[in-house]
Each structure stands twice: as C-alpha cells, then as structure tokens.
C-alpha cells in the first residue's frame, strides 16, 4: 500500500476517529460549498433569494459573451505572468548572489526574507502610498523627472502598481526555495567543473540550473497560484479593480459580482471556472510533489 508504514496497526475505528475532525471540516466548509457553487452556477436568483430560476448554461454563456469577463481573464493572465517572471528572476538573481557571497550572508538573507512576514494587503498599502500621486515620495520623484503618473486615472499605472506590490511581497518565497536548492548542489561537482576550467556562469548554467530545475518548476506553479488567488487583498486595498477595470482580476470579479452586486448566478459560474483552473494547477503541482515524494521515501 502506498505510503503506509511497514510497521502499522490494523484497526478501523481508531483511524476513522482520528480523521474525523479534518474530514468534517472539509465536508462542511469545502465539499458542500463547492457542490453548492456548482449548483448555483446553473440558476439565477434575486438578491433576497425569493425567486430562483433554472437557466442551464446561461450564466456561462453570458460570461463567455461578456467583453468584461474576457478582459478580466486577459488581465489576470498578464498580471500573473508578469508577476511570475519578475518574482522568479529577481529571486533567482538574489539567490545566486547569496550563494556566492560569504560575508554578510546571514544579514542579506534576513532582509530579503522580511516581506514574508508582511500580509499582501499591507504590501499593497505600502506601495499604494509610495506611488500615490499626491503624497507618495516615489510619485514625486517621477513627477520631478517628467513622468506623468496617476494610478487613479491610468489603467496601465494601476496595473504596474499592483504587479510591483504583488511581486515585492512574493520574491522572498521564491528566494528561500532557490537558496535552499542551490545549497543542495554538491560542491564536489562544482569543484570538479572549476578544475576543468568552467567559469562561475558556465558552472551555474550547466550544473546548478539543471539541478534546481524541479524547484523552479514548482515555484512557477506556486507563483501562479499566488497571483491568481492570494493577490485579492492587494487589489481590494489598492485599486478595487479599477480604474476602468484595468486591474480587475478574476478572483476579484467573483467577489465583486457575488458580494457587492449580488449577481449570484454569474458569480457562481465564475467560481466554477476558477475551480476548474485551480484543479489544473493543483494537478500540475502534484506532478512535481509526486516525484519528490518518490525520491524521499
């Protein structure tokens, strides 16, 4: 049996009891709500829940026809993509540098790690302030050098702002994993390569990079998960999806349509689409996790 200790107990009641709390929570707050979301996606209902109509795939149909939904999907894609690349490249550079330096390594690591403690919403607030056109120091510098900057008016500026904030918050996560992965590269291999005359860059590309490949793959998936779901707080605190829908990511739209506009059918349909996407991401993640589990056991 997979993942079972060789020395194990044969009992039925006890393990069921042990699993009960977890399964109960999952049932009440995960599975039943998920099924409910699924069923709500096929009806329309008024805010007070007094009339309900079954509409088949109408909610989905409306979504696919809606330019606003398509635009939100594109924005989400760009947002997660830019955020992903920015995060992993910066984290990679910092991790590579950390791996090379000897002095002050601990200090550098502590500082880069700092944003891990900071909630996404706080990261959003910090950056919103820096770039606030009327009071922000960075916005002031931008204005001084002649760059017109106004995230309240320009969609591009707002998009840039939330992307920067989201990446700033997440670099530390990728960094931790990359530092750990680089540490795990056997020094003997590197030394042998150095003796053969390979420079630092060549050694990194030929030896370290392939060895940290799985970690990078894992991080890219995790960055997508982060960008898709956990950046909700940044959007909610900084832009509310605006201006003109320029930062309307899919998760925020689910919330807005469901909780603010009380268009439950549409919101549920959006949830279902997101769920399908989340399942895809998880399976991708699991492929990686699966391999790691096999190595470890």
């Amino acid at each position: 049996m997979v993942g079972l200790k060789r020395a194990h107990y044969r009992e039925t009641r006890l393990p069921m009891l042990l699993l009960l709390p977890q399964l109960l929570v999952l049932l009440l707050f995960f599975f039943i709500p998920a099924v409910r979301a699924l069923s709500q996606a096929f009806v329309i209902t008024d805010a007070f829940g007094t009339s309900v109509q079954f509409v088949w795939f109408d909610n989905f149909h409306r979504l696919f026809l809606s330019p606003e939904y398509r635009s939100a999907a594109w924005i989400t894609l760009w947002f997660t993509l830019v955020q992903n690349i920015l995060t992993i490249v910066v984290a990679g550079a910092l991790a590579f540098a950390t791996d090379r330096v000897i002095r002050l390594r601990g200090l550098y690591r502590s500082i880069v790690l700092l944003p891990y403690a900071i909630a996404p919403v706080i990261a959003g607030i910090l950056w919103a302030f820096l770039f606030n056109p009327s009071v922000g120091p960075v916005a002031h510098v931008l204005k001084a050098v002649g760059i017109a900057w106004d995230p309240n008016r320009s969609g591009f500026d707002a998009f840039l702002l939330v992307t920067l904030a989201a990446s700033w918050k997440h670099i530390c996560y990728d960094y931790i994993f990359l530092v750990a992965a680089l540490l795990a590269v056997p020094p003997s291999l590197l030394e042998a390569a150095a003796v053969d005359g390979a420079g630092p860059w060549l050694r990194f590309r030929r030896i370290a990079l392939p060895m940290i490949g799985p970690t990078v793959f894992f991080l890219v998936t995790m960055n997508f998960v982060y960008g898709f779901f956990e950046t909700f707080a940044i959007i909610d605190a900084v832009t509310h999806g605006g201006p003109g829908g320029a930062t309307m990511i899919l998760v925020y739209k689910v919330y807005l349509d469901g909780f603010v506009h009380i268009d439950l059918g549409s919101s549920a349909a959006q949830s279902v689409l997101l769920m399908i996407f989340a399942i895809g991401l998880t399976l991708l993640q699991f492929r990686y996790a699966d391999r790691r589990i096999n190595y470890d056991v």
Binding site: D46, N152, R153, G155, P243
Partner: protein, 441 residues
C-alpha cells in the same frame, strides 16, 4: 464525534439564551431594530433621533445600528434576511429601490401606516421625493435623508475673474472656468466629486429633460432600456473629459478628499450634494457660496432628482413590533423633526410643511444656500424623464457606467464608445432583472 456534539449543544444553548433574552425584553418594551448607513456626525444625529423617540414614549425601544456604508447595509440586510435574522427597519439608498420593491421581503410603508391608523399627509411630500419612491401611487418606503446636487463655488475666485457668480448654462459656465484658469486665479476650475455619476451625469440628464432609459426611465415597465448613449449625455461626458484633459477639472484620487480640494481654495467649484453643508461650513477656509446646477443652452431647466436613502420595513416580524415601526416612522415624518434634521444635516425637508416652517422662521434669510436644493427639486414641471429612475439592479448598472467613464478619463475610450459599452452592459443587467422578476411589476 464528541467535538461536534459539544458544539451542537453549545449552539443550542446559545440559541436558547437568545430566545430567553428576547422574551425578557418583550415583557417590558417592544424592541425595533433599525440598521442604517450613517457614520460620523450623521450617525450621531440618527442616534439622537432614536434617543428622542425612545424618550418620547414608553412602549417601544428602537435600537439603531450603523452597519457600514450604503453598499454594506444592503448586502448585510440581504444576508441577514436569507439567514432570517433581519431587522424590522433598514435604511437603503435610492439605487436599491427596485431591488427592495420586488424583493418580496418588504411591507409597503403607506399600507402599513394606513393599517396602523397613522395620519400622514402623503400629498404633502416634496414631489421628486415622493415620485421616486412611489409605486402605483403609493409610497413604498419612508423618505429619510434626501439630497440633491448643487453647485458650490468660491466667491473670491469668481469676483477676481470679474463674474458675479457661476453662469446658468454649461456653455457660459465652461467659459468662466477657462477664464479663471487662464488668469491664474486658481489651480483648478472644479474638483470631481466621487459621486459625479449622480451629480454630473444622472442629474444632468434629468435637469435637461433627457431620457436616461425608455419606458419613462423604467417607471412604465421592466422592459426598459438605457438610451443615454444617444442623448445630450454624450456631449456632457465629452465636456467633462475635455476639462480633465485640460486640467480644468481635477480628479482627487485615493487618499485625497475632493471636497477638501474645494474647501482649501485649490479648486474654484465643486458639484456635490446639498448634504455637504455640514462639512463645508466646518472645513471651509474660503468665502464660499452655492447655486443651482447649470443647464444646457436652449433647454429650460427642469427639476433635479434626489439621492440619499429611505427607511424600508421588512416582512416577517410580530404585529406589536410593527406597531412600534409605525410609531417611529410617523415620528420621523413629523414636521418638527424634519425641520431639525434639515437644519443640522443639510438634507432637504421631505414635506412641504416642514419647508414652510423653516421658511417662516426666516431660516433661509440667514442661510440662503440651504434653500437651493428644495427650490431646485421643485423647479419646472415634471415630465416622464424627470420623475426619477426605476431601474432594476441599479447599483450594478451604475458600476458599469462608472467603470466606462473611468476608461474615458484614462483616454482608453472615446465618450461615445464608453457610453455605448456602458449601455450595452447596463441593458444586459436590466434583462437579467426583467427575466427574474417577470410579471411582478
């Protein structure tokens, strides 16, 4: 299993406790819950009304709770209704009218007060207020805080530019703003308020007798469609965009209060609710005044429309609680209270009687700008374009409008494109509402 069981028991005990508490107070005074959206100073005023009411009689206790802003209150009450934990009374903004009306969750206020034999002169209500909240000739909810936008201006700026005050028409007013700017009198001509879609778009449409939607703005049927992409509203949006592009109008943005741009003397004018009287009087470091909203050249100015909120009565409570509701609502509608409320908040009095009382006291001689709103609301003859708006899911359609207007200011869309998109989105939302409520209106 143990854990779950214990929680169930705890839950049951808690419920029992709640039930007992309810009974205990029922023996003394009947409690009426009132949820509202008034924070800050306005919240204190509401608390005062409730305090006065509770002291005025011994049978009922009204409990007021601030449940956040208007959006939060309507969402809160919807969630509470679904969980069967809703209050008897709730303050809902004008945009929620159709949602509330067709919710199947409300008791029409005129029916209730008639049934409870409260003598209220329904015909005495200020017309645009009454017409907004009426359905089939009957008032559905009790008008509470009603406002309308007026034009606030900096007297000194206008005098320096050689004007006695803002002009009546948009065309002349625009020239004034550009003159003020070219003469370098102020940094910006006008500050864009956050509810500009209400003051500068919706009210513009009403004042200039433009149809916002078909079927008399939704009064004559759920199959109404927005048409403001084919009216003078397009020109208005073009004008606003030009102002913003030329720096004549300033968008305050996050963390900056547009009203402060005006009260600090940075911007010369400000289109905002008459309810801003309280804060402008307190904050202004300038010599200010206010006047009527401008109108288009060649169009006679009609009445403006209201904003603000009314108090709705919700279904599903005990008869004696509704006695308390009726008592409280007639207290709110009484002229004395209305006059006081009008004075301390800047909202318009909801009855003509209250207005006459204030006038007879000479209140408007000392405070001429306080009279603008009610005069403006009563201006001209009502047409089917100026009664108000009866659109379903109006918050949602307004959100679409705002989002599209933001695209205009961001130079992503032309005014025509944006309004076309906004109308398309709005109509889609209206059709949903129609489908869901077919035959109810």
């Amino acid at each position: 299993m143990g854990v779950f069981k214990r929680y169930l028991v705890a839950g049951a005990l808690a419920l029992a406790a709640v039930g007992l508490a309810g009974q205990a107070s029922a023996q003394q005074r009947v409690e009426v819950q009132f949820w509202h959206a008034m924070g800050g100073v306005l919240g204190e005023r509401v608390a005062e009304i409730v305090k006065r009411f509770n002291a005025s009689q011994s049978k009922y206790t009204v409990v007021e709770t601030n449940k956040g802003n208007y959006d939060e209150v309507i969402n809160g009450v919807i969630a509470a209704y679904r969980a069967k934990k809703h209050p008897q009374l709730v303050q809902i903004y004008e945009r929620g009218f159709m949602t509330m009306l067709l919710s199947g969750a409300i008791v029409p206020v005129q029916d209730l007060l008639t049934e409870k034999k409260k003598a209220i002169d329904w015909a005495d209500l200020v017309k645009p207020v009454a017409s907004y909240y009426q359905y089939k000739g009957k008032l559905m909810s009790m008008p509470f805080n009603s406002s309308t936008p007026i034009l606030w201006f900096n007297k000194e700026h206008f005098e320096k530019a050689g004007f006695s005050g803002p002009a009546d028409t948009w065309q002349e007013f625009e020239q004034q703003l550009y003159t003020i700017r070219t003469k370098g009198i102020s940094e910006c001509g006008s500050a864009l308020a956050n509810d500009y879609f209400w003051s500068l778009i919706e009210n513009y449409s009403i004042i200039n007798d433009q149809p916002f939607g078909t079927k008399a703005n939704g009064y004559d049927g759920l199959d109404t469609e927005f048409v403001y992409n084919k009216t003078k509203v397009v020109g208005q949006v073009t004008r606003l965009k030009k102002w913003v592009d030329d720096g004549v109008m300033q968008i305050a943005g996050q963390g900056l209060n547009p009203e402060q741009l005006f009260t600090s003397g940075k911007c010369s004018t400000f289109f905002a609710s008459t309810a801003a009287h309280g804060s402008v009087e307190r904050e202004a470091k300038i010599k200010w005044s206010a006047t009527f909203m401008p109108h288009e050249q060649g169009i006679a100015a009609h009445n403006s429309t209201i904003g603000g909120a009314t108090i709705w009565t919700l279904k599903g409570h005990k008869s004696e609680e509704y006695d308390g509701v009726a008592e409280f609502l007639s207290f709110v509608a009484s002229p004395d209270l209305q006059v006081w409320w009008h004075k301390v908040t800047g909202y318009v009095p909801i009855t003509n009687k209250a207005y006459q009382v204030a006038k007879a006291e000479g209140y408007y001689k000392d405070n001429p700008t306080r009279e603008i709103a009610i005069l403006q609301l009563n201006r001209g003859t009502q047409t089917e374009n100026t009664r108000g708006f009866h659109f379903g899911n109006f918050t949602q359609t307004t959100f679409a409008l705002r989002e599209e207007l933001e695209s205009v200011f961001a130079k992503k869309k032309t005014p025509q494109q944006a309004l076309d998109d906004s109308v398309r989105r709005g109509n889609d939302i209206l059709r949903q509402f129609e489908k869901l409520n077919a035959g109810k209106y």
